[in-house]
Amino acid sequence: MTIHQTAERPTFELDTRLISAVAGAPPPGTGAGALRATLTFAWRVLLKIRHVPEQLLDATLFPILFTLMFTYVFGGAMIGSPEAYLRYALPGILAQTVVFMTMYTAVTLNTDIERGAFDRFRSQPIWRPAPLVGALLGDMLRYSVASAFVFGISTLIGYRASGGLGGVAGAIALLLVFCFALSWLWLIVGLTVRTPAAVMGASTVILFPLTFVSSAFAPPETMPAWVREFVTLNPVTRLVDAGRGLLDGVPDAGDIALVLTLSGIMTVLFAPIALRLYNRRT
């Protein structure tokens, strides 16, 4: 006995394209290898830059503003002339610009979690860390672009690195290594904090003291003793000093080794925590 008037099973004309596309799909394989999967996620960062150029605006406008502001506002007061100050502060401006950008790693990851793309990626048969490592690799490109802008604008207003191109390349490379290591910490933040806006808040609170209370913008000798102590311990100070040495053509092997060691320690410390959180996240 059937009494349905409105719920009669309708006969759908199955679309032949749909059937052939579905039937023609290859059976499930093993998924992309670790390297290919990682590069695919790095490619995704590039695509995002193309579609959301505002992201890169952050990366480019920020350094331009900072370079000009610091040079012409603080320059005269600090070391006598804007040119002399630019020479002192450029490694700091570079470090601050790029170190600040690392927080977008956390923001992007958090947005993925919120929108559900994260679930989709995690249910793929691929090397587990690929989405995270791929994103970090893609971010390296953003950091390089920002660094190029800092040097471009500085060159326009008269900056010349005595370390030459080698010094510039060395300073940028060192910065990228440091930021890659620091980004693992941001992945932890991105996986723990609830919303992208909260990520921004938390990040700013950490990043402002870290970049300002360092040797980036003023010589530590001019600071009170207790501040100087923090400055000496601050890893950003080490990064800035090492970069300054490279740019000025007097690289300090000790400083460089220290930055590389610090980066190694941060990676070894934060990466396993980030990966564990990523695998266990509910």
Binding site: M1, T2, I3, H4, Q5, T6, A7, R9, F12, L14, D15, R17, L18, I19, S20, A21, V22, A23, G24, A25, P26, P27, P28, G29, T30, G31, A32, R36, A37, T40, W43, R44, L47, K48, H51, V52, D112, R115, G116, A117, F118, D119, R120, F121, R122, S123, Q124, P125, I126, R280, T282
Partner: protein, 326 residues
């Protein structure tokens, strides 16, 4: 030892969030090659079940196997054979439809041009070619859903899980989603879908599990379920809302079922298995001078299913019906 005839087999599956036992001892056995529907209201634990089966969260108790592989111990094998389309479109809004599918095709092992080719074929099949180069944030709800399902088909999964694939879609988009599910079954993929609509489960599924508060409260073929809850429901809209209590009382007496008053003040519904009795009762009401604007016999709603199975309507944030006092 479990074997491949079950696409999904769970035993005593439990997931607890704080004080909330979201999934509270679920036994499921989904035969390979069929469409299986998990029917339940918001908050019944459907999504949590799916996420455990898809290896996204770990069960707190019990076991789940997908095509013979344990979700906890053999997660990689499970992931290789299933595809999940979650409740919220899991796409990158900043990327185009083509880029989203190419990305997923690459992750599933298609290389270079083959990935792009697969993406283009899928866009064509899901009627999205015209929008292929537009960013997903410009897509309508139905387009997103189709793209999202296409994303699960870059390879032909052995098991496809769809979490509320048609919630919030217009009828045309819903038809397209149903059509895709039917096409998949034709090629031997097992489909598990969750839904809040009995009609959807009835249209698509070979078997249905009704869940409430993290438990399965009824399971079986669509026919068996209908035998439990009644095959149909009579929906009536009265011409004047003042007449509704009287119409409800009369229908209840003549059809022997409890009327459900809808949030709409002129609408009511009740279980009705006998078309002849329905016709007689409606004629009797009209003879008494009570105006009926509209009536229809349809499948029971989720609320009516729950009323029949548990004696109370489904809870959840959706506007609930209130039981009439007769």
């Amino acid at each position: 030892m479990s074997h491949e005839t079950w696409a999904i087999e769970t035993r005593g599956l439990v997931k607890v969030f704080g004080a909330n036992r979201a999934v509270d001892g679920v036994d499921l056995a989904v035969p390979a090659g069929c469409v299986y529907s998990v029917l339940g209201p918001n908050g019944a634990g459907k999504t949590t079940m799916i996420r455990m089966i898809a290896t996204l969260i770990r069960p707190d108790g019990g076991t789940a196997r997908v095509l013979g592989h344990d979700v906890a111990d053999e997660a990689a094998q499970v992931r290789a054979r299933l595809a999940l389309t979650g409740q919220f479109a899991s796409l990158d809004e900043d990327l185009t439809g083509l880029e989203n599918l190419t990305l997923l095709a690459r992750l599933r092992g298609h290389r270079g041009k083959a990935a792009r080719k697969r993406a283009i074929d899928l866009l064509e099949a899901f009627d999205l070619s015209a929008a292929a180069r537009r960013e997903v944030k410009t897509y309508s709800g139905g387009m997103r859903r189709r793209l999202d399902i296409a994303g699960s088909l870059v390879v032909r999964p052995d098991l496809l899980m769809l979490d509320e694939p048609t919630t919030g879609l217009d009828p045309r988009s819903r038809g397209q989603v149903w059509e895709s599910v039917r096409a998949l079954v034709g090629v031997g993929t097992t489909v598990l879908l969750t839904t809040q609509y009995l009609e959807e489960a009835d249209q698509l599924a070979d078997r249905i599990a009704v869940v409430d508060h993290g438990r399965v409260i009824a399971e079986g073929t669509s026919g068996r379920l209908k035998a439990l809850v009644g095959a149909g429901a009579l929906r009536v809209r009265v011409a004047d809302s003042a007449d509704r209590p009287e119409v409800a009382r009369l229908l209840a007496a003549m059809l022997g079922a409890a009327p459900v008053l809808e949030p709409d003040p002129v609408a009511l519904s009740l279980r009705a298995d006998e078309p002849a009795a329905v016709a007689r009762s409606l004629a009797a009401i009209t003879e008494r001078g009570l105006g009926i604007a509209e009536y229809a016999l349809a499948q029971p709603s989720l609320d009516e299913v729950f009323l029949a199975l548990t004696g109370k309507p489904a809870d959840g944030p959706a506007p609930g019906h209130e039981e009439a006092s007769t």
